[in-house]
Symmetry: C2
Subunit: 411 residues, 2 copies
Amino acid sequence: MKPMGAIPAGFGREEAILQVGGRPVDALISEAGGTPLFVYDLQLVERQIARFRAAFPGVKLHYAIKANPYGPLVTHVASLVDGLDVASGGELALALAAKVSPHHISFAGPGKRDAELEAAISAGVTINCESLGEAERGLRIGDLLRLRPRLAVRVNPDFEIRGSGMRMGGGAKPFGVDAEQVPALVRRIVEAGADWRGFHIFAGSQALSAEAIIESQRATLALAADLAGAVGQSPPVLNLGGGFGIPYFNNEQPVDVEHIGRELTRSLESRSELIANTIFAIELGRWLVGEAGVYLTRILDRKVSHGKTFLVTDGGMHHQLAASGNFGQVVRRNYPVAIANGMDQDATEEATIVGCLCTPLDRLAEDVMLPRAAVGDIVAVFMAGAYGLSASPQAFLAQEPAREILVGAAD
Amino acid sequence: MKPMGAIPAGFGREEAILQVGGRPVDALISEAGGTPLFVYDLQLVERQIARFRAAFPGVKLHYAIKANPYGPLVTHVASLVDGLDVASGGELALALAAKVSPHHISFAGPGKRDAELEAAISAGVTINCESLGEAERGLRIGDLLRLRPRLAVRVNPDFEIRGSGMRMGGGAKPFGVDAEQVPALVRRIVEAGADWRGFHIFAGSQALSAEAIIESQRATLALAADLAGAVGQSPPVLNLGGGFGIPYFNNEQPVDVEHIGRELTRSLESRSELIANTIFAIELGRWLVGEAGVYLTRILDRKVSHGKTFLVTDGGMHHQLAASGNFGQVVRRNYPVAIANGMDQDATEEATIVGCLCTPLDRLAEDVMLPRAAVGDIVAVFMAGAYGLSASPQAFLAQEPAREILVGAAD
């Protein structure tokens, strides 16, 4: 037997049936037209937004679309946060379609094409410049368009969030401009007549240690103040990055966001004069939406091979690559899963849940204890709201596409 | 510095420019309308088919569409091989669209939906049954349709190909029916009046050791004969699986297919009477098309961070997940890459090639020696013909789609 992660709070059940957003999953599946199905509960997203608001007074909240670009979700979340962060021209189009003011959109990511810079500058979106070369291209395109580009500088800090799942800073990185090159670049941007929007400093993601995030945020404030001093000008905006993780696996604990908020509030109260008038923002993706999503897939076959029980589903790694252990993980571990129409039953059987792809990589849960499940039963894979469908090889083996629905929206 | 795999044979150059199918890549990119671009050289596929034909006289050759489902490629390959193996209803539709006779199509893979079984039985395609339950569903659907289903039994062998990249057999598996349950299942299929088509025994894939494949094929023949004896009937067809790997990484050697062919020919000459009249087939995907594909992506930015050079391209893991090290690999290693417009230059610079996605997972080559490359240069990632675009998270970060073209086709 192998352990699995804990099912996140916020999901109910009525008798045997899992509920998402207060509605039974069998009804949701009928409404959506079948499985595989991603259900996103907007109320759980709103819960996270409310937690953030309470914990981080005065700090702007941005949503990083890359975590989940599902249109109806983006539109709702956009109305509840202060800005959107996009990572491509395609995401920029999504953000603009969600009727977000261009001044509340920033565009980060290495390898921006000229056409993407053009689209961003034309729209009045802030570009987080990832390199000297990209900044020069932005300035040149601004000249050509006779528009004043809004340019922030993404800084590659000399530190990272300790223990983060994805290291975005610390040492040589494809992201951002090394700190020592930043003052000259900002002066260049200002002298060229562009609208310098400040700094973007992103030190890591999927961190579960509040202390590590607190330390990173303190270092970020200190670095921003140093850079402001070197530049001789205050950054209008400091995007502190994000990095708040969610607990996917056994023995992982939720990050203590309230503790981070208290410490950041304290740090901001005593911040340097050099960043006294700066607007602070935190950009979050995974933490806002990751726990709000459930992937539902139906059992098509139940078979026993050499004494081991396999539940074969109509979903798989083509929709939930991360749950299969093939998205940045070195060791495969189990996401939380459940038999969604057997929530009232005890876990009496050890089973392995696989997808319908003809590859041994396609495992949704390995050697987990579950209620005895049969063909037709519904498997729920939790923690499916971020880096799920859009981060998976959907065309692999020409399988059926997944459906997506949003529940818990007021309108 | 880290090593990379060897560039496969069959690619030329004219002056500085890489040629695929005898044509310079810059012209191919213009023709296709830009980068990122997958180019598949049909001549290299034909070379592999010819090698197979010479090495395996009398053995049928099947193409496993899942390796590369690009329509024009499938259509051409289908005309050169003896059958197609599909792994979903979607791939079945592709195979039928390629005008392949249904009797030369077999459908394997766990988790077949009823609608997929129906489509296969209606078309007259052979279903490789992955479990007792699936076989029963096939029989029931045949009854309902008043059609005689063509059913083969996929056997989960008690052995695997030693050292194969993906283990498909040996121990408890979601694929196939455990060998000891097979005779009863075949009898059930025959007694129910279905058209029993034989066995499918697939013991592993991406194996580079000829000896391991030879051993596995011998074991497969022995198992098939044993099963035929237990059933009391000869299998019309024995699909021996595939498993021939290709050398992606440094120090890997191509598999000696001619050696395998000689040994299989010898084994077949002395085979059991129980499989004397059986038709033998080998299904190959990766080995046929993997080396024939090149992924071309343009350098958008060149930056130095803490002394390390990054080449940022307009492609990435959303098109070539496997090259980024996130598709079943435990340790990331470098695929062969080149600067496709600098083929006449010496490798004088250590660089890391990243994609345009805003994630540290997006690396196409790490710390490799290359000619000095500049913005606008073209990066070629080789070994991109199998499990490339279709096995990658194409929608991730809403980036531009990749283009695909086939070269070297006679018509």
